[in-house]
């Protein structure tokens, strides 16, 4: 059977790009350096030389917080705790400090603020999972 060529037209752009990529092969791999930063900074907290300001973040809720550094250790504050936190067995460890700010009392103080933030975020998560 004879074939008659009626004409030609360019392939669609998407097909041409695909073929071009196959012909070119993969480009050189880009090495991405991992960041080695403290947890508090990774979570977006800021430090003004005395206090840390940021938020305790969990999949359930986030709460404003600040941390004051003292020679005796850090004090952790949380703003406007939710009903879930108030129902947690550790609610008695939250001391009101006015304007809806609460001091979170640590029976065992963390050695760094990052560990304290992790501890409070874990408590918030627990409060929402119960």
């Amino acid at each position: 059977m004879r074939v008659r060529e009626l004409g030609s037209r360019p392939a669609p752009v998407s097909i041409r790009e695909l073929i071009s990529r196959v012909v070119r092969g993969h480009g050189p791999a880009i090495s991405v350096e991992r960041r080695e930063i403290p947890y508090w900074r990774e979570r977006g907290w800021t430090y003004d030389g005395t206090n840390y300001t940021g938020s305790y973040q969990t999949p359930y809720a986030a709460f404003r917080g600040w941390i004051e550094e003292r020679r005796s250790g850090s004090n952790f504050f949380l703003y406007s705790p939710s009903a879930q936190i108030k129902r947690h067995s550790h609610w008695v460890c939250f001391t009101p400090r006015g304007s809806d700010w609460y001091l979170v009392h640590m029976a065992r103080r963390p050695k760094d603020v990052s560990s304290g933030i992790l501890t409070i975020e874990r408590l918030i998560t627990e409060a929402y999972q119960k």
Binding site: H90, A107, K111, D112, L118, T119, I120
Partner: protein, 78 residues
């Protein structure tokens, strides 16, 4: 064998380790000289107990956290 990146929360330093089946959280902390720390997969996960095998609970290449021991509470509620 699985590779793990242990992030020391306070400094952000990352320590790469390779663990075998049956390796416990205590083994990792001891190896890394982080005796006063606890391991967890993050703030939304519980801490690994020192004698708990970590191998089955982590994925190859996963990042886990080492943070110092802390507890919210007062004497009567800790």
């Amino acid at each position: 064998m699985k590779k793990l990146s242990v992030v020391v929360a306070g400094t952000g330093q990352i320590r790469d380790v390779e663990i075998q089946s049956g390796t416990t959280a205590g083994d990792i902390l001891h190896q890394l000289n982080l005796g006063d720390y606890l391991l967890s997969k993050g703030p939304n996960e519980p801490f690994f107990a020192a004698a708990e095998s970590v191998y089955d609970k982590v994925k190859d290449g996963e990042k886990i956290f080492a943070s110092t021991k802390a507890e919210v509470g007062i004497t009567v509620c800790a």
